[in-house]
């Protein structure tokens, strides 16, 4: 693995050297390295590209890294990864995709991740998307995440796209059973002429299921963003969706939250706010000695932290 690829791994998966737990590194459309543990198995799919990550019931405190990196220009990669999390397991999964596009052709990665979270299992899923390029080629990522949470299960999903992805369409669909919980935190920054679309759908099917979907984004330059979030309350449940966006320069941001209550005891809230950086925030930081540009950076970095 060359230095560019190692650097990408560090950015998207905080990986330096070999991680201690199970991992699967996919580089330029093929398997680069893999390690399984007693409790976590990783198998290559036989019918289509992708892997199955199987976590044994009761597995506690283990971490799995499954980064994807692309350093060739003109490569379009599509994978189907399934995560089967056994009952009562408690694990962290670090995914992520980094593209270094050194040429003039477009590079892309489309991942379809499907989660089957067993009864009372707990998963933290962290996904970072990052791109850089030396040439004119565009970096494109269209991730799809499908989440099924069984009774009493819990999933916390943290997705981050900070830099270098020209075009992205993120689709997340989830279905929750009784007492299941889903928490999503999305952080997104677009710049130049980038486009980012987020489309969350949460079906709160189970009794006492709950979902909390929070998106914070910054749109700079001529970039545009579309945020769609649908929560369907089909039982006694709690749902909350929140989109908070900072708009700068000539950017465009649309937020379309949609909540549907199909049960008398469904309690759903949506919030959406889009606006430029408040002038008084800039003034406050300038009274601390920061220039206007430095103040702006601090506000944006804090907002996306």
């Amino acid at each position: 693995m060359n230095n560019t690829e190692l650097e990408l791994l560090k950015i998207i998966a905080d990986m330096e050297g070999t991680p201690s737990g199970a991992f699967n590194i996919r580089a330029n459309g093929g398997l680069a390295d893999r390690k399984v543990t007693e409790n976590i198995d990783i198998r290559t799919k036989t019918d289509k590209p992708g892997i199955d990550i199987i976590v044994k019931p009761g597995t506690k405190g283990e971490k799995v890294h499954i980064p994807v990196i692309i350093s060739e220009t003109g490569l379009s990669d599509l994978v189907y990864n399934d995560f089967i999390i056994g009952e009562n397991a408690d694990v962290e999964i670090v995914a992520g995709c980094g593209i270094h596009n050194c040429g003039s052709e477009n590079s892309g990665h489309d991942g379809v991740h499907t989660f089957f979270i067993g009864k009372n299992a707990k998963v933290k899923y962290v996904e970072k998307h990052y791109g850089d390029s030396d040439g004119d080629g565009k970096n494109i990522m269209n991730p799809t995440t499908i989440v099924n949470i069984d009774d009493g299960g819990y999933m916390e999903m943290e997705t981050t796209q900070i830099k270098g992805i020209n075009s992205t369409k993120r689709v997340t669909k989830s279905r929750l059973s009784d007492n299941a919980t889903l928490i999503i935190h999305e952080k997104l920054m677009t710049h130049a002429d980038q486009y980012a679309e987020t489309d969350f759908t949460v079906d709160l099917d189970g009794e006492n299921s709950s979902a909390h979907v929070v998106s914070r984004s910054v749109a700079k330059d001529n970039s545009s963003q579309l945020f769609l979030s649908k929560i369907n309350g089909n039982n006694i449940c709690n749902g909350h969706t929140e989109c908070d966006a900072i708009i700068m320069d000539n950017a465009h941001v649309s937020a379309i939250p949609q909540i549907s209550a199909n049960h008398i005891d469904a309690s759903l809230i949506h919030e959406a706010a889009i606006g430029k950086i408040a002038g008084e925030q800039l003034v406050k930081l300038m009274t601390l000695g920061l220039s206007e540009k430095q103040a702006e950076e601090q506000i944006v970095n804090g907002f996306l932290k």
């Binding site: 914070r216 406050k284 009274t287 601090q298 506000i299 804090g302």
Partner: protein
């Protein structure tokens, strides 16, 4: 030394141009100076003129003899002017530790940041990693705001009505903070306040009303008259009742 020379500020209002500050000239030496006077008299505008947030229509501002009238907010901050807002600003994502680090101009350790919080009567451990957002109460935000000025430790520290919007319990603690600051913080400390207990710790009192300086002098000289007037006003009210 901070010197204001013939400062005027006019603002457009619905009823035409209004003179907010009328030919204000002041010399502020090191020590505790409290600016007081009725609401709408021009006190906060004067503070913002000093910090560079408002540009005066005419007049000059000198800091240690250097003309800073045309300097930006940032440049004045770097020259040594600090300003605590009357209504502290909230930030999503920026923590108390971040803000105090930014104020001090360097990456300060949690221990050092905590020392500033302790000075303003906050239990540092509970606050250091909290975001400076709407989850903090008015009193907590005020004290964090004061801590940022302490962390800057500049030659001019301006506080715009530090007592505004906080409850009585927090106010009592705040007074202690200012009493302590009187002994520890060097340079010129300028506080805009209506509070007798803050006036009591002043070395010098300036009364501004209707855009002009009405009185200026030692606390011993100004305060009895000011409080006397206030008592007369109260007495009249009582009699009428």
């Amino acid at each position: 030394m901070l010197e204001l020379k013939n400062i005027c500020f006019e603002a457009e209002t619905e009823n035409g141009v209004k003179q907010i500050l009328k030919d204000v000239s002041l010399k502020i030496e090191d020590g505790f100076v409290v600016i007081t006077g009725p609401n709408g008299g021009g006190k906060s505008t004067l503070a913002k003129v000093i910090a560079g947030i408002i540009t005066p229509t005419s007049g000059r501002i000198l800091l240690d003899g250097e003309d800073i009238t045309n300097l930006s907010i940032t440049e004045r901050a770097r020259k040594g002017i600090s300003f605590a807002f009357q209504q502290p600003v909230r930030f999503k994502g920026i923590t108390v530790h971040d803000l105090i680090s930014l104020a001090s101009g360097k990456d300060i350790s949690v221990t050092d940041a905590c020392a500033y919080l302790s000075q303003v009567g906050l239990c540092a451990r509970d606050y250091i990693n909290r975001e400076v957002n709407a989850s903090l109460s008015g009193g907590e935000l005020k004290r964090i705001e004061i801590a940022t000025v302490l962390a800057r430790s500049t030659k001019v520290s301006l506080f715009d009505e530090p007592e505004a919007g906080i409850d009585l319990w927090s106010f009592n603690n705040l007074i202690k903070v200012f009493e302590k600051m009187h002994d520890t913080l060097g340079g010129s400390v300028i506080i805009i306040s209506h509070q007798e207990r803050i006036l009591n710790i002043a070395d010098k009192v300036i009364v501004i009303a209707n855009g002009s300086i009405k009185q200026e002098g030692e606390k011993e000289e100004i305060l009895p008259e000011l409080l006397g007037k206030a008592n007369v006003a109260c007495k009249v009210l009582t009699d009428n009742c």
